[in-house]
């Protein structure tokens, strides 16, 4: 790895910019994601910032099962992010469709539409587990170069 990409990799690991997208969730995971920002859990001290637009984000944090209505929008958001980019599926619904698997308007988990870098199960996921999962994902950046678009990254499963 060149010095510049090592630097970028380190900076990204220390201070990821996150975009949060809900594909059809009940909001329980979304609220726990936001709770992770509040003083009790406080991810801002780790340098984690939530951004509103895909163009500034390194990590796409997704909650909710993949509904048919939202599929195209999810793919578009993923496409708008610059490489290298990572996707975290937060909650059992984002991982596999969860309790809604089998419902007629659900296509399953978000990996049915975009590649996922890390799966964090839970219903909902506790804020500690969300933080733990994101940190675990970012710590893998030091060991290997960022995955190319065509590759499906390895699953990094975190405990829920």
């Amino acid at each position: 790895m060149s010095l510049l990409s090592k630097l970028q990799s380190w900076a990204r690991r220390k201070s990821p910019w996150i975009i949060h997208f809900n594909t059809g969730a009940c909001n329980a995971c979304d609220i726990e994601i936001v709770a992770a920002l509040t003083p009790r859990f406080d991810v801002e001290r780790l340098g984690v910032l939530i951004k509103g637009t895909p163009r500034h984000a390194d990590v796409l944090v997704c909650s909710g099962p993949l509904t048919k209505n939202v599929r195209a929008r999810l793919v578009r958001i993923y496409a708008q992010m610059a490489e290298p980019k990572f996707v975290v599926a937060v909650g059992s619904c984002a991982c596999s469709g969860g309790i809604f698997d089998g419902c007629y308007n659900i296509d399953g988990g978000i990996d049915q539409a975009i590649p996922v870098s890390a799966y964090i199960p839970g219903c909902p996921v506790r804020p500690e587990a969300i933080i733990d999962g994101v940190v675990k994902l970012l710590s893998t950046l030091e060991e290997k170069p960022a995955p190319k678009k065509a590759e499906l990254p390895e699953k990094v499963a975190a405990h829920g």
Binding site: K68, N69, Y104, N105, D107
Partner: protein, 152 residues
Amino acid sequence: MVNTAEMKQSLEGKFDFLAGKVAVQRERRVFVEVPADRFREVLEFSMKELGIDWISTLTGLDEKETLAVVYHVSGAHGIVLNIKIRVPRDNPVIHSVTDLFPACANYERELDDLLGFVVEGLPPGNRYPLDDNWPKDQKPLRKDWKPAKAAS
């Protein structure tokens, strides 16, 4: 304010086709089935004389030979009056009540999208709740509908 027993008496007294047909399941729960062509009259009477001013929702039902709608209405008295009408499965036409209850628009659109009712007089608006790409002839809440039939 009218009470549950009085509501039953009043409906049966006013409409001869309802004699003996108004069911009081418990306090504050009244169920009645009304011929589709008399529904509007019964609803307007309830609003005028029985303190009905609130619509909670509409439930669409696939009852095999017919389709049915239950209108769940109430008022300050807290009584829920559940009025059911039936329409033929091959011609499920109902009339919008959005002139009386504007909040009904999406409840009626849902009857169209999920069960195939034809709602006359529905104000224009986006379909609800299915996606624009969902085929209009696929009605998922019908009893004979299975996911494999839908184009994704």
